[in-house]
Amino acid sequence: MIAYLGRRLLALIPVALGVATITFALIHLVPGDPVVAMLGDMAAPADIEGMRHELGLDRPLWQQYAAFLGGLATGDLGESISTHQRVAHLIAQRFPATLELASAGVIVAIAIAFPLGMIAGAAPGGPADLGAMGFAVVGISVPHLYLGPLLMILFSLKLRWLPLTGRGGLSHLILPAVTLGTALAAILARMLRQSLVQVRGSDYMRTAIGKGLSANAALLRHGLRNALTPVVTLLGLQLGGLLAGSIITEVIFSWPGLGRLMITAISARDYPLVEGCVLTFALTYVVVNMATDMVYGLIDPRIRLGGEAR
């Protein structure tokens, strides 16, 4: 077990390095001069040179890259151009809000997906199955972009049950979390149903029912665990969607997280801050992906023990 976890952790290093390199390349190699973009086309050449020097952009690329990696290793991501605060500090301030929203979104997704997938998978073809899968089809199709405003109109403006925007207690969290979690819920519910339907026909289920367990009890005690593996895999694959959704959701609900910080930094052309945000998002994504992989290994011993091949 320890060896498995250790192997996964070691594999994290080259991936993290690659992701950091892509971030660096995005900001430094993509055509378009960030300094000209910041100061405008009409800026005096001397100002542009000064700014370039200040940001270290006049150094050779490999020196910039080395400085970038060195900064990364020590947690120093430079200084924001628009607020003159440390980028790492700004990000640390906003990160918990994003984590809170994303976790709440996943919890909402799981809380909806499990009952829905179980009901549908317990009696495939029945009316409950049709209803649940109908919801899933709609849930997958409604974009965060629209679900957010729709929930705001219904629950904040018309019914006045929940606050419109911002972060605060639980009441502030509900609408953004539902916005973020619904699509994921629909995807997971569909997978759980399909996986349960497949598991139903297996020998061990027939044995369990033959020993006198009711069909539902057998599904709950023996089927569910085996049906879970593809669901967890899928959850891992949907992290990218969750990340994209969280950026949109934060903007819609004025949620003070990393996504909104990044979008604000982009419109202010605050490149060091943009770079820091992109990097933090990407590294978090890599780490969470790895964590899902490990959970996968915990659920299914075959993966852990045959880990060498992976």
Binding site: G18, I22, P34, V138, L150, L157, G240, M262
Partner: protein
């Protein structure tokens, strides 16, 4: 199962066909200019002359929606086509070259895959600046890796099939094997992924435009229409509802079609 396949194909195909027809002919049918401002009609609700009402500047929502459909489809189809070409070239040649080249190229693809796609698109769009060409580039950067992996995997597995080995033994040239035997085999799974891909890119395009990183106002795009409507949620909910439903229906259409195609392809093999 067959019924479900037919239902998905039927509904999805019809919706996609309608969407494409609207994208092509919609702007020719409407009498309204999507950019014509008429402040007397600002935030007007649906009325005979303007069936979907007007936005905050009194522009006809239906006309804007139809032009938005054209933009959305044009962008997403170009992005998927471009991603497909780039991905197939990279993935396909890695598979055919094999050995060292294959493993180096695929490590490179893996690193790209480890980078969240939408984040890459946001960062690229932010650096390249707004505009449709840059939008297509940013979204293609996000999309090509999936096709590279798919095509590589398919080529590797098809190459081991007996009919391909038979052709090889009979002395067929590599290019003949590629065109006559490998490409037809790859077409099915690639078509399925591309169909789902269009749905995904429609949302990604709308999201970038919503964030102010894609199509710029006054050009109507479903994403920037949604963004503009957010300020008037209570007084004019139709400003967000109309583009929101348009995006949702398009995604539904391509998902159903993809679902149907996937089952069709699965049944055949």
């Amino acid at each position: 199962m067959r019924l479900r396949t037919n239902l998905s194909l039927g509904i999805g195909g019809t919706l996609v066909a309608i969407l494409i027809l609207i994208g092509i002919f919609g702007p020719l049918i409407t009498r309204h200019d999507p950019l014509a401002i008429d402040l007397r009609l600002a935030l007007a609700g649906p009325k005979p002359n303007h069936p979907l009402g007007c936005d905050a500047l009194g522009r006809d929502m239906l006309a804007r929606l139809m032009y938005g459909a054209r933009l959305s489809l044009a962008v997403s189809i170009s992005v998927v086509a471009l991603s497909l070409v780039v991905g197939s070239l990279i993935g396909g040649s890695a598979a055919l070259a094999g050995g060292r080249v294959d493993s180096i190229v695929m490590r490179f693809v893996d690193v790209f895959l480890a980078f969240p796609g939408f984040l890459l698109a946001i960062a690229l769009a932010a650096i390249l600046g707004p505009g449709l060409t840059d939008l297509v580039i940013a979204l293609t950067a996000m999309g090509w890796t999936g096709y590279a992996r798919l095509v590589r995997g398919e080529v590797l597995s098809l190459r081991e099939r007996e009919y391909v080995q038979a052709a090889n033994t009979l002395g067929a040239t590599p290019s003949r094997i590629l065109i006559r035997h490998l490409l037809p085999g790859i077409a099915g799974p690639v078509a399925v992924q591309a169909t789902f891909g269009i749905g995904g890119i429609i949302v990604a395009e709308a999201s970038l435009s919503f964030l102010g990183l894609g199509a710029m106002p006054p050009t109507p795009s479903w994403g920037n229409m949604l963004d503009a409507g957010r300020a008037f949620l209570l007084v004019a909910p139709h400003l967000t509802t109309a583009p929101g439903i348009a995006i949702g229906l398009s995604v539904l259409a391509f998902n159903l079609l993809g679902d149907g195609l996937a089952q069709l392809a699965g049944r055949r093999s």
